[in-house]
């Protein structure tokens, strides 16, 4: 793999999840014992977060019909319903352990979450939509289109994978937490209290230990397939339908 050629490049490669497993472990060890380096990384991380927030506008804005018409995109989907099914295979996260060679747009944004290092980093990346009462987990699932990476308040990367409707009418989303060796997948469904986690696989369970993420009473750690059955999941929403849900804050038309 291409090695970083300078300390700056090493930091940058770390932030972007581009170090191989060995180099990453070495860097994390250094972070734990080098407060100056940790402060540097924290600052760069905060700058990244600020940039993401500064350019988050287009992600949250609705795509109205007038805009679509201006762009020559109106009327799409009327004649080709088959084309609107989301290709799940292309949205799967990279296999754990593969460095630098991620398929299809999944960066390895792996950040150490072990006690000492996390405390030293004092991560400040927040998903800043509206602040206030809801957790960053809620905000991330409320507003992030599938395939897009969001950062929770404690630095964990969360990427929604797809959205669907459960048999009881709730909207649900499958998402991945973290990535690489410390990653995992889960499903959460939305009710008035926010996004409740319905299932987590093993990798995600370890990550979801913060107060940010509420795990529902009957949450299933054994696998997502069982959860999909239990929830009586409908077909995944199309990109367009999902975007509508995001802009309407997941409110049913019938509510």
């Amino acid at each position: 793999m291409t090695e970083p050629a300078s300390p700056d490049e090493r930091i940058v490669a770390f932030l972007d999840g581009a170090l191989d497993d060995e180099a990453q472990a070495a860097f994390e060890a250094e972070l734990a014992s080098n407060p100056a380096l940790a402060a540097e990384v924290e600052r760069m991380l905060a700058n990244d977060g600020l940039l993401q927030e500064a350019f988050a506008g287009p992600m949250a804005k609705g795509v109205d019909d007038a805009l679509l018409a201006r762009m020559g995109l109106a009327g799409a989907g009327l004649s080709q319903p088959a084309a609107s099914v989301i290709d799940l295979a292309s949205r799967r996260p990279a296999e754990p352990g593969i460095a630098n060679d991620n398929p299809s747009g999944w960066s390895r944004w792996w950040l150490p979450l072990g006690g000492g290092v996390a405390a030293a980093l004092a991560l400040m990346v927040t998903f800043g939509l509206g602040g206030g009462s809801s957790s960053s987990f809620d905000a991330a699932l409320d507003a992030t289109p599938s395939g897009q990476i969001a950062a929770l308040e404690d630095g964990t990367k969360l990427t929604p994978v797809l959205s669907f409707r459960a048999g009881d009418g709730r909207y649900c989303r499958e998402f991945s937490l973290g990535s690489g060796a410390a990653g995992g997948t889960g499903v959460a469904c939305r009710d008035d209290g926010g996004w409740q986690v319905e299932a987590l696989d093993q990798g995600a369970t370890e990550l979801a230990s913060s107060d940010e993420i509420q795990v529902a009473g009957g949450a299933d750690a054994s696998g997502l397939d069982a959860a999909y059955d239990r929830l009586a999941a409908g077909d995944p929403l199309t990109g367009e339908a999902e975007l509508e849900m995001i802009t309407s804050n997941w409110k049913n038309a019938e509510e």
């Binding site: 581009a18 506008g57 795509v63 960066s107």
Partner: protein, 174 residues
Amino acid sequence: MKTGSPPEAVDLREDIIAILPRLRRFCLALARGPDRADDLCQATVERALSRQGQFTPGTRLDSWMYRIAQNIHIDEGRRANIRGTEVDVDEAFALSGDDGVQIVEGRSDLARARQAMAALPIEQRTLLALVVLDGKSYKEAADMMDIPIGTVMSRLARARRAIDQQLHKGAEHD
């Protein structure tokens, strides 16, 4: 509108709609201002639609469209230079808030972050948009811009350094 297209013609419109927010964000970063970003985004979609036949199904639509946006942006820059028009970097984002409405004192952190981005050279700005905003891997960014991964890394390091300096200007008393 074309008539008599063959039945198996690719229709990318629905897929384009699905990635439209990300494309708009990419254009916002590239074009250094909301109005120019909208123009760039529209031009990109138009060109993509007119070249649908050239898109290879199964490959990444977003990379294909980002490349189109880049090329349009660079072409426009060249035309502006030939005409002797100066692009005033300070004007880009200078006085608009999040919603594009002009405010007198645009000194918020977010406004400064957008200005810092606008002040970068185009290759650095594009790489930050691809990797930091859009979450692309180094390999993907390298393939898209046709440069080695090492160059991606060094440009991202320089870009972040420059952003850091812009954001912390005047706060030297740490």
